[in-house]
Amino acid sequence: MTAAGRRFGAWRAAWPLLPVLIFLGFFFLYPVGQLLWLSVEIKGTGALTAMHYQRLFASTLYVKVLQITLETSAWCTFFSIVGGYPVAYLLATTSERRRNNLMLWILLPFWTSFLVRTFAWIVLLGRNGAINGWLQALGLTDEPLSLIYNFTGVMIGMTHALMPLAILTMVSVMEQIDANLPKAASTLGARGGQAFWRIYFPLSLPGVAAGGLLVFITAIGFFITPALLGGRLQTMIAQVIITQVQDLMNWAFAGAVSVLLLVTALVVFYLYDRALGMSTLAGETPSTQGGGGRNPIARLSAWIGGHLLGAIGRLCDIVSEAYERLVPRPASRPTREWSRGVLAFLVFLIIFFLAAPTFFIVPVSFTTDAFIEWPPKFFSLRWYDTVFVSPLWREAIVRSLLVGVLSASLAMVVGAPAAFVLVRQRIMGKTALLALVLSPLIIPRIIIAVALFYFYARFGALINVRFIGTSLGLVLGHAVLAIPYVVVTVMAVLKNYDERLDQAAGSLGANPVRTLWHVTIPLIRSGLIAAFLFAFITSFDELTIALFVSGGLATTLPKQMWDDALLKVNPTLAAVSTILLVFITGMILAAEYLRRRALGRSSAA
């Protein structure tokens, strides 16, 4: 067979990819493409126009909003990386046991709904919030400080929201760094500072870049935090899109704003790919680095970078040498690495910042007061009563559960087979396929939401099916978002799966279907359940798509919370958040437990 023939043969074996390609093509690629087209088309004619873009750039308002969006996102990325780096470093360099324990404290905030975490900051930072309360009780301030409805509030909220993402991305790269390298540097005569800045840090840069990219892209599509914690001057571009669609029904203009957002995202992405290569996003170390080859500019920057890092390393070592002169460390006595202690303390503070605020929601939910205030006046269950008595809330809870289960199931059916092919088959264009499957994670969610809304309206009218205001529309939309999580989780489990077990089953007379059913699936069952749970949570927590697609009729829990919060942040929200927090925490612990068991089991054989 020719090489091309073999490739074709491999493609035939790749048929399980079809569902995911068709599904994403129909409910993701086409709608997004249509939205983009909308922004350059003269309504209904097919002719091109730059009208919407002219309007966009003619008004200083939108340029200003874009500028705010970029600035806010850049700062948020900076804080997430700077704060997240020490945590990622500790996670990557500590023992596996400790890593697993610490990781939970990152995963819990990662999966806890943005809404819940934003409410928590309102409880903490508000005029009558916990922090102002303490400051005044300690006599540090006479009157409450303005901590929210300004840049500070937005920055705290967004950094808190996105730092877990930065940490998880950086850890995945740092884990690939050979633990012997810093040790080798030490035996070669490098003190801690030089060993870190010259060896470890340059090798961790792809992780920093990947983490920064994901945080930035997510941040520019943010609207929850700026809307609830920011003031008028913190309005971000996603909020403009929402206004254009929901209040003004101006699709084409919303499309143009979306394109602006998407182009911004893609430009950032392109620059990233040029600088570091896409594979680093999947946690691989880049193949192009170091002084050899490449163009003169890259060489020059590598040279400057190398000397800069060397200088920083020298500086650190001068400090530690000075410290040693003050406090000598004799070779006859055991010494403690104080730098490790400092790191541990720093990481403790950051994890405290990530994990603790959410819990302030809990006491507030038991208040007797009619509004959120610190300290809460105990003790009443009336807000829980409100939730369970109100048909609005009950309906929302039931719908969220239903939509969660259905969309997770759909994502599993469509995504899991694709994961098998992506792990096991050698096919042409695998990277492109992976990029497509993962793109719902990378494209700002608000764009997907607006695109789906428009597509649903048009397509629904065409085939006379209601997508908007029904659970059907929600299920399909949420499945789009859940598929990447399913594929990534199942791929990770399959990568650890010893394929010889399947070959053994085959050699013992089992056909492929029986092999799958009796050998493969039982062994990776925990991983599949974990993938399902992650998909469920993705849907259960989802607000953006629900905001548009629910159409005010089929309200989900996050949508109901959002509507309520826009009117007034009240203790009912605290009660709902507490319920959500307990529920999600339980799910995460279950999913994590199952995932780890799956990784352990399939590779132990």
Binding site: N180, S186, T187, L188, Q194, G310, R329, A331
Partner: protein, 361 residues
């Protein structure tokens, strides 16, 4: 070749991880220019010992002296040691030149001098043209040599090597063994080497420190360990051996007789630590066992039936089952196809008294 200057002195080291004792009662010295190998199965404490000497693990007690200076808890960057890691630990983002220059830059040597030094060691390891390449562009054997060059360039007191050939295939490993040995001899470097491969240890070392179960089992030259093992473990771990049970019948004046399980009387040289009536094991190497002709005699003789004959190229192995059950092997150089012997033939095996090693059980 072995100098008299002491490069390393290890005293009474102990290290535990939780409940597990990883190393205990470890002491030895290493002289300038010496090649000492820590040999043992995995989990025997050899890597722990190396890590303590490198300063990458702190011991619970004991002392490490490097070049006459106490270094037990000194940080590794102050120890003036070189270390070759199992996976080489070459810095992937630096070229070969930058890798080798790294320790010199840490010592703040002038750049012009660094260039000369790097070229010098690259010549020594016979890779003069790879300075601008990245480590991953090199083969396993080349990476190995660069790792060695990176250690040699700053002339450390001792070079520590942690299973440095573990990742190479057999043929390359054999070649690298000889190369490292040659560099050691030519340059007079002091090397502390870790391996679990007894053949590698025998080929390369001046002395072998055999480790077992967190302790030093026996320390001596390869010949010492082979011909005069002091424990059953040592006898069994190095080379092939026949180990049989017996009871001391008489002892004294440097020799002893042992009654084997099959009632044969075995003569052996013995230290005066064995007492009459003591249960012992006696060991004889397969190449010392001879199949005796009917009329021939030897110091020690046992009888059995031939179980199997296996021709392994240059040598032929004869497996003989003793009446009491155990199978012993005798090897001899292959001279041609074996004739006249077949499975079940009764044979007598003989060997000289001084080839017998008496071991406490």
């Amino acid at each position: 070749m072995t100098g008299t200057t002491e490069k390393l002195r290890v005293r009474d080291l102990r290290k535990t991880f939780g409940q597990v004792v990883a190393l205990t009662d470890a002491q030895f010295d290493l002289a300038e220019g010496e090649f000492l190998t820590l040999l043992g199965p995995s989990g025997s404490g050899k890597t722990t010992m190396l890590m303590i000497i490198a300063g990458l693990i702190q011991p619970d007690k004991g002392e490490v002296w490097i070049d006459g200076k106490l270094a037990t808890f000194a940080p590794s960057y102050k120890r003036d040691i070189g270390m070759v890691f199992q996976n080489y630990a070459l810095f992937p983002h630096m070229t070969v030149h930058e890798n080798i220059a790294f320790p010199l830059r840490m010592r703040r040597m002038a750049e012009s001098k660094i260039r000369d030094e790097v070229q010098r060691v690259l010549d020594i390891v016979r890779l003069p043209h790879v300075a601008d390449r990245l480590p991953r562009a090199l083969s396993g054997g080349q990476q190995q040599r660069i790792a060695l060059a990176r250690c040699m360039v700053y002339r450390p007191s001792i070079i520590l090597m942690d299973e440095p050939l573990g990742a190479l295939d057999k043929k390359l490993r054999d070649q690298m063994q000889l190369e490292i040995k040659q560099l050691h001899t030519e340059l007079g470097i002091t090397i502390l080497y870790v391996t679990h491969d007894q053949e590698e240890a025998m080929i390369m070392s001046d002395r072998i420190c055999l480790m077992n179960d967190a302790r030093i089992e026996q320390l001596g030259t390869p010949a010492d360990l082979y011909f005069k093992p002091r424990t059953v473990f040592a006898a069994d771990f190095l080379g092939e051996s026949n180990l049989l049970d017996g009871v001391v019948q008489s002892a004294g004046h440097g020799r002893a007789t042992v009654k084997s399980a099959g009632d044969a009387v075995i003569k052996a040289p013995a230290a005066d630590v064995f007492a009459v009536g003591q249960a012992v094991k006696f060991m004889v190497r397969p190449e010392r066992l001879r199949l005796l002709d009917p009329v021939e005699s030897a110091d020690n003789v046992i009888e059995g039936t031939l179980d199997q004959i296996i021709m392994v190229g240059g040598v032929t192995k004869y497996y003989v089952r003793l009446p009491t059950g155990p199978v012993v092997s005798a090897t001899r150089l292959t001279r041609g196809p074996v004739t006249g012997l077949e499975r079940g033939t009764r044979v007598r095996l003989g060997w000289p008294a001084d080839s017998t090693v008496l071991l406490p059980t």
